[in-house]
């Protein structure tokens, strides 16, 4: 079977494809949240050092990983739009930014609530925390910059430059725990044998998958609105059944 990938780089086709894909991400996401949190709260044992407070991990780690991952995907789409002048990739970048900002906020919020009982402070100006805060500001800057430019194509290009330059921050967040002495602990999950109980790991990977599917579903809903807005003067949009009715 030949898949015509380029067919879906046209907003018309992608609009329809995205509409079909949304339930395939939204429903599994909800199921995986239930399963992951069930394992996280009722199967995974109490931590010997951190007692029950460690259970924040099942939302903190997925939120943190995805806040960085979404940024890289957003910068990649923005760069594609800039280099190849593909409208749809720029629209995808714009659709991802609010969700990315939300995950960066959640990483900071859950981190603060975890830091208080473990370190004695909600916030410290530590390398890991500060670079994650900068990530949140980069997302907000990207959204504000795009909102301030009326011409959508110019907004795409300006946003893309910010996204690309800002992507230097992502490896800084990732390696901050190695490069500097920080209060934040290093990675718990290592490729060569990690120190975590198997049920804890399972719960974390399942909630990570749930969050990822949530991100895809919600971004697809958002990108469909962006497509409609940008293509509002075209024939195909005015002939959509949801517009005709």
């Amino acid at each position: 079977m030949v898949i015509h990938w380029f067919k879906y780089s046209a907003p018309t086709n992608f609009y329809r494809l995205a509409g079909k894909l949304i339930p395939w991400f939204a429903i599994p996401s909800a199921i995986l949240f239930v399963v992951g949190l069930y394992i996280g709260f009722f199967v995974a044992p109490t931590d010997a050092v951190q007692s029950e407070a460690y259970r924040i991990i099942f939302i903190h780690v997925p939120a943190s990983i995805l806040s960085m991952f979404i940024y890289m995907v957003m910068a990649f789409y923005a760069a594609l739009g800039l280099v190849f002048n593909t409208r749809l990739s720029s629209m995808m970048a714009s659709a991802l930014a609010p969700t990315g900002a939300l995950f960066a906020f959640l990483a900071l919020w859950t981190g603060a609530l975890w830091g208080k009982p473990m370190w004695g402070a909600y916030w410290v100006w530590d390398a890991r925390l500060t670079s994650e805060l900068i990530l949140l500001f980069l997302y907000l800057g990207f959204i504000a910059l795009q909102a301030s430019i009326d011409d959508p194509r110019r907004a795409d290009r300006a946003g893309a430059l910010l996204a690309i330059v800002g992507s230097v921050n992502v490896p800084i967040i990732y390696f901050s725990v190695k490069w500097w002495n920080t209060l934040h602990q290093g990675s718990t999950i290592k490729f060569t044998g990690s120190s975590m109980h198997i049920a804890m790991q399972e719960a974390m990977f399942i909630t990570l998958a749930a969050c990822w599917m949530y991100v895809v579903a919600v971004s697809l809903v958002r990108v469909r609105s962006i497509i409609l807005e940008r293509e509002s003067k075209t024939q195909w949009v005015s002939e959509l059944p949801e517009v005709k009715s």
């Binding site: 009722f42 906020f105 859950t110 609530l113």
Partner: protein
């Protein structure tokens, strides 16, 4: 009414929700996550509704011309 938690230990629901004294931090984290997810879902659906509404109005005024 109890709940079976990790290791087969049975605790009461109130003990479970107390999270051995960490309730504020644990439920504060999950509560915020839930609130933020629900808010975002509401906002993207609202945006779609508004966009479609706008397009219908555009179409109607276009048809009349």
């Amino acid at each position: 009414m109890g709940v079976r938690i990790a290791g087969g230990e049975i605790v009461s629901w109130s003990e479970f929700f107390a999270m051995k004294g960490y309730a504020f931090y644990v439920w504060g984290s999950y509560g915020m996550a839930l609130a933020v997810f629900l808010l975002e879902i509401f906002l993207v659906r609202q945006k779609r509704k508004n966009t479609l509404q706008q397009l219908r109005l555009m179409r109607q005024s276009g048809v009349e011309e």
